[in-house]
Chain length 245, copies 2
DNA sequence: AATAAACCTATTGTCGGACAATACTATTAT
DNA sequence: ATAATAGTATTGTCCGACAATAGGTTTATT
């Protein structure tokens, strides 16, 4: 019988815990369980799916890690649709783990952020502008040599910018870039002279361009800011082709 | 005793399955377990961590969902550092789940892709150009009314472009945009007249600009291409503020 | 009556053992 | 040598039990 009469595709026999995961995921996507709603307790899930708690719990771990459920009060799980920040955090973490280099990050900043600044010049509302100003003043006030604070403020500037664009797709992408900026800035901030002052000036110029609603200027200063950040790496003698981790 | 003498931060008592997850994750990051290497079997992990299989398995589910391990032969887990495509798939899925709209996606395309095209004009090597050409010819050959194929080809063009940029950060971002493009193109392709022809022409122009190494032209045609895609939505009367799902 | 202390209870976290299902290996038969 | 068979290691699932704990509820205290 080396010539079977008919060929069948192998049946997909996925483990029960995966089915549990998919079933709940599906339910969340379809809207049966809406944001903030509590999941049934484990015992009830066992009852409904007709599997044991061990199996249900493995499925819950999958949901947990995929960010679709989070712990509410008393350890109960509540449904949570992922937001841009969650996406960004997961993405930048994975990219970093994957070993992306300084130059890859920098290059992306260089082609993405100037355009984002251009958009920001027309789109940022007064509230966002005020927030950006506050961040800038915080950096200005932090005159000392507290490098961590400097990095935090510098990154926060980009974060506020990204938030003000009112676009979740961009927010996710820019935020994940921001996290990687922070990661790498931390490594050069101590070695680059006048880093804080240079950042302060650059962000001031960008801010002024935003306030004046001048797209061209915003793009230009942002481009210079990014270029200057890159110079920081060179001055600090950081190997640009090394992983950011 | 309403005046405690000292205040202590609450102790972090995280469940054992989380510790298992973190321990293995740590080991992967630190390089103890390198890419492609097999994880010890569950029984050995129990032995090492001194917990039961249920606990170990919950930890494994976390690792599984985070994409750090995948199944090898005989269901054994092997370590896998996430690559750009994995990141992109997870990110676009989460963003879609989060309810991002057509206009958010389109706006991001509009400010990101023209610049990417500019970079591509100088960076794409002959191999990448050939690949792009092949994708274009596939779309050209698909003269019929097979909309799925048309969408697949159109998206594949963007995919090839992204791959040719030789930058994993950009690749991840562009790929996740591409997936969302595909998702939304599918919804308009049938309703927009001459969609295939318009895409074909636009991509031809972009391709020619790449071949000529003309950055300006590449950016210009890409911008037109994206604008044209947006017009497709208008013509197809798609509500731009609706979720892409 | 308001507050604190003690108790109760529902739920999760972990354990240990058991067995079926299955994919890889070694052995035997042709 | 090839094919069929049996054996083995490992995962998937089940069951039942109990400890730990976050909340809620009652009781005691001033």
């Amino acid at each position: 019988m080396s010539e079977p009469k008919a060929k069948f595709a192998p049946l997909y026999r996925e483990p029960a815990y995966l089915k549990v995961y998919r079933a709940i995921e599906e339910n969340i996507i379809e809207g049966g369980l809406s944001d903030g709603e509590a999941l049934p307790i484990e015992a009830q899930l066992c009852e409904q799916f007709q599997v044991t708690r061990s199996t249900v719990r493995e499925g819950l771990r999958l949901l947990e890690q995929s960010g679709l459920i989070v712990r509410g009060s008393h350890k109960k799980f509540i449904v949570k649709r992922p937001n841009a920040s969650d996406v960004a955090a997961a993405a930048s973490r994975s990219l970093a783990l994957g070993g992306v280099t300084f130059s890859e990050v920098w290059e992306t900043l260089a082609i993405y952020y100037p355009q984002a600044a251009r958009l920001a010049a027309t789109r940022l509302n007064d509230e966002s502008l005020a927030a950006l100003n506050a961040v800038w003043r915080a950096l200005d006030a932090n005159a000392g040599e507290d490098h961590d604070k400097t990095v935090a403020c510098a990154v926060e500037f980009f974060q506020s910018l990204a938030k003000g664009l009112d676009n979740r797709v961009m927010l996710a992408m820019l935020q994940s870039l921001n996290m990687m900026i922070g990661e790498s800035l931390r490594q050069v901030i101590g070695k680059a002279p006048n880093a804080r002052t240079r950042i302060l000036n650059a962000q001031k110029n960008i801010l002024d361009a935003f306030s004046a609603r001048d797209e061209g200027l915003a793009e230009e200063w942002m481009a210079k800011h990014i270029a200057d950040l890159k110079r920081g790496y060179v001055v600090a003698k950081v190997e640009m082709d090394k992983s950011i981790l």
